[in-house]
Amino acid sequence: MITNTIAVKAVVERNIIFFKRDWVILLAGFVEPIFWLIAIGFGLSTFVDDVVVDGVPIEYTQFVVPGLIATSALNAAAFDSTFNFFFKLSHLKIYDAMLTTPMTIGNIVLGEVAWSVLRATVYSGGFLALAAAFGYIPSWWGVLILPLSALIGFTISAVGIFSTTFVRNWHDFDYFGLAIQLLFIGSATFYPITVYPTWVQWLVNLTPLYHGVALCRELALGTIELSDLWHVAAMLITMGIFGLWAKARLQSKLLR
């Protein structure tokens, strides 16, 4: 009898087999945040003043880089858990076929999430290495950005799969495009959330990426404190709620 570990692995393998042929697409996704880095390093940082974080002024590029690392995890996980997930669910219908084997809905959801996590970690990891090489990761705490990227991938993927269970057709993905843009720009990536009115700050605290960006920055700068565990908790809670909810929704969708 198949174990759950092998079942989850089997889902990941299917994606690896697919992307082996189209590895250029994987690479292209990795390159995108690097364009932003160049635009900011050469451009914005020349006319944007230092950003004050916890009372300490920080050079603008240094401020943005951790945010970009976190958003590259977002990009990786968001695409697979929304667009690609919908394609497999509603067009290829491969999950229907998989459910006639010993695989369960839980195996499938966890497998797809695991794949997103893998991709998010590889993207962020690559970017992290690059940023460290250019001296943008001054603290050794920065090593922890790697597991953090996995956590971001996990959270985004759970929310992504959950949201995708509501999608009716391809046009609905334009809402996703807007949501991803909101997360990308609004999550303290390019400026601290203190520029927002208080009520907006509260809203931002409810979004999944913000906590990832905040932690990533603290780790890169080595200003991490015990109280920052709150960000980890926020992500774990989001991940748990949406992951289980996604599973329940798929259950009633596919096994009816």
């Binding site: 250029v24 697409i25 292209a28 996704g29 390159v31 995108e32 364009f35 932003w36 160049i38 635009a39 900011i40 050469f42 451009g43 914005l44 020349t46 006319f47 944007v48 003043d49 950003v51 603008y60 046009h171 334009d174 809402y175 495009g177 807007l178 843009q181 909101l182 720009i185 609004g186 390019f190 400026y191 520029v195």
Partner: protein, 261 residues
Amino acid sequence: MTSSAVHPSSVLHVVEHHARQARKTWMSIALSGFLNPVFTMLALGWGVGSLVGDVSSLGTEDYLHFVGPGVLAGTVMLQGSFFSLWDALGALRWEGMYKNSVRTPASYTDVLTGRLAWGFVRFLFSSSAFLVVLLLVIGWSGWGALLTPFVAALSGVATAAGVLAYSSGQQSDKGFPIISRLIISPLFVFSGTFTPVELMPSVISFVVKLFPGYHGIEITRDLINQRAELLPSLGHLAVMVAWLLGGWFVSQRGFRKALTS
């Protein structure tokens, strides 16, 4: 009907056909063509703007006056690109929309011309809506501002024509993710949307000036900041028109092959 002459009435029919379809997908167009860029402009204009100290390298009053027009024209460039990727392949090959069109008196050239004309109309609408928000935020900035939707739509349709020259010859969307992530994305980031092109390494600033998006952004920014001059503007316009005509000309080949064989 394979002649390459343009019949204005047939072109209009193609535009009308698209406009009718858009009644069903207008929400999609509004989300990606209006809400998304408005949000981007406000977030960056106010958010990053609050951190900008020295505006001398921008040549504008503040960062909002720089990034607002940048996002206005930059978005239309993005829209123009996507308009010529999956959307175009769908109409040309997957859904059979254009195959039905060429069974009417319309020639493949009419279909191509109609598609680009529809693109111009669509971009004109979305950039006008954006302009209204921009002017509400920065205040009235002269009659020249009213020209910006036309300039932006022209840069959008010039980009669309260029991308179409490639995509109309493709059998599948296999190469599209690469085009979108490795060519369109960097052009959007580097064409002066968020940061002056002059500050970029010279290779980058040289390359982006070859494409129509940069020129659309430049005129739009000059008009909004009331500093447009005739001669440079004509230069920018010439580049965009050249892309439009060149793209239109090359795309005929792809349309002919897809629709008349």
